[in-house]
């Protein structure tokens, strides 16, 4: 039976936590903040074609060059690139594991593919690249994916294609000049076949954005740039779904998803205000995360190494 959007979101968090435990660290908070948004995008908002059976990620074929005919992008995980279907351009490459987990939860990627995560010679990279599952443009240098998505959206308008272009971004990217160049362009050229979901978790590498470099009021700034921007609570699936259908004739749509970087894993709150990368410091802390994983697991899983607190 198909999973519900809430189940997909829970699955994203659980899988990313599993891997964080396995590797003694990882980009865990990104999964906490993005789980519902990615789940609702893949399950209910985006009109993506089927991949058929879940795809097993391929080995890395080498970088693109005129001499490498075997090169591929990770776009195949989002279904065929035909005119009627939407496209998904994923910008914050550090969230890669959350995307892989989402692809597994939605039946697009073989779950065995995660065994290749961060393994040399495979495409399932820790910080996603354009050959990684679910990705199809070079997105690692923050701020470049939105402009590329605008190019794709403009081209699709020229070709009179019905499919839209959805973009997922992080709020940190709104400190970058190119992002605003892109919104200026998207508004000027009336790219209303674009919808941008932004993870507004208010944190970045060095800490709270209000301390590092404030970007608020983000909705007012975007609306002043000519976008149709609105704020929603990013863990409310219904609200996210509703926001996606906001009319935005002649304007790009921007859904600002207010999220918590520790949503679903309260233990993570102890890392405040530095959520960017979680490093598990010692066995005691690892045990606490194991207990979190046990709590999140749908059935009694045998989580190796678990030590029960006294009295339990």
């Amino acid at each position: 039976m198909d999973k519900t959007t809430a189940q997909i979101a829970a699955g994203i968090r659980r899988r990313v936590l599993e891997h964080t435990l396995k590797n003694n660290g990882g980009y865990l908070s990104q999964a906490c903040s993005s789980a519902e948004t990615l789940a609702v995008l893949y399950k209910e908002i985006m009109h993506l074609g089927s991949t058929g059976a879940p795809i097993m990620p391929r080995a890395f074929p080498g970088v693109p060059s005129p001499f490498n005919p075997d090169y591929f992008t990770g776009g195949e995980f989002n279904g065929p690139h035909t005119s009627e279907y939407d496209r998904f351009i994923f910008s914050p490459a550090h969230y890669a594991l959350a995307v892989y987990a989402c692809l597994i939860e939605t039946g697009r990627m073989d779950e065995k593919g995660l065994e290749h995560f961060n393994v040399d010679g495979f495409s399932v990279e820790m910080i996603g690249a354009e050959h990684s599952p679910g990705m199809e443009v070079t997105n690692g240098s923050l701020g470049q994916a939105l402009s590329q998505a605008a190019g794709i959206a403009y081209a699709r308008k020229l070709k009179k294609e019905a499919g839209k272009v959805w973009v997922y971004m992080s709020d940190g990217e709104f400190q970058i000049g190119q992002t605003w160049e892109a919104f200026q362009f998207m508004a000027h050229h009336k790219l209303d076949n674009m919808g941008v979901f932004v993870d507004v978790n208010c944190h970045q590498c060095e800490g709270r954005m209000v301390d590092v470099m404030n970007i608020e009021p983000l909705d007012a700034r975007l609306n002043a740039f000519g976008a149709e921007a609105l704020k929603v609570y990013g863990h409310d699936i219904k609200g996210l779904l509703q926001a996606a259908s906001t009319p935005h004739i002649g304007k790009p749509l921007v859904v600002l998803c207010a999220t918590n970087p520790f949503e679903g894993i309260p233990l993570l709150k102890q890392n405040a205000p530095k959520y960017h990368y979680v490093r598990i410091k010692n066995e005691q802390e690892k045990n606490l995360y194991r207990l979190e994983l046990e709590r999140m697991s749908p059935r009694t899983l045998n989580i190796p190494g678990i030590i029960r607190p006294a009295g339990n």
Binding site: P64, P66, V137, Y154, A155
Partner: protein, 335 residues
Amino acid sequence: MEILNKTHAFNLVKWAKDKPEVLVLSADLKSSTEIDEFFDIYPDRFISAGIAEQNMMSFAAGLSREGFIPFVHTFAVFIYRRAFDQVAMSIAYSNLPVKMFGFLPGITTPGGATHQAIEDISLMRALPNMTIFECGDATEVETILDPVMAVKGPVYIRMLRGDIPRLFDKNEPFKIGVNRILSQGTDIVIISSGICTEEAIKAVDAMKAKGLSIEHQHISTLKPFNSKQLLGPISTSKYGVITVENHTVIGGLGSIVSECMAENGLPKKIAKLGLQDKFAHGASKAYLMKEYGFDAMAIIKQTEKMTGMNFNISEAELKQVNIIPMHSAIKAEDL
């Protein structure tokens, strides 16, 4: 010598007629980069990106992923200085067919350091997948578009605008990786590119009249560089090699030729004329070429230094050299 005006403007319009996939992008420099005629005739294929080159370069990458061929037009400095990360990551990494027409190469503008692209070849050459062409005259401007399209990946073009001389026979088009052999000889090898070739032709003619035997080749494909035509003449040259470029001598034509010589074990002396690790400033082209030592007189002086000869050529004499469109001494099928 025939001087042509707005060669690219008229040629592009004619050439693009049956190529609906070609889109022209402008960063507020429509008339300065000779795409105003294109805009008038094909407004639907013209995209105004405004003064926002970082977005423009990544945007172009997105267009090309959907089957279009973006022809980005702006000043060269705004392509590789302002938006190098975008050129590298959005375009070059993915080997996308974005064609970048960089105007005002080197000291071809009195606009000063902000407008003068003096290290573009060094930087763009370092990018994997990048092809680099440079136009030296009106014939090359007129015939570069087919070669640009023939390359499947990104191409960076050092483009000329405005009044451009016709140095080469108009029936001998730009050919990828083929040097134009303008003179054959054994005393010294002069290798020039871009606007420096006109200066080199003047110097070579004057020195040949004094009895020097000169090999002169014009380079228009800087990457991938084909050294095949150069190796023979360099290895047999009596006094060595002089390169002449409208660019810093670090990383451009002089560096490329030096690398080829070293890689092929050719133990000859090489002198690199061009900007000697210095920025230029706002002044006329002729003034700057003289000031920085890569005009015809500078080529003669360097040759005198390397050969120990004194040609006794005055600047007034040089001005009288009448350049007639040159036939290449070698045919492509001979290569």
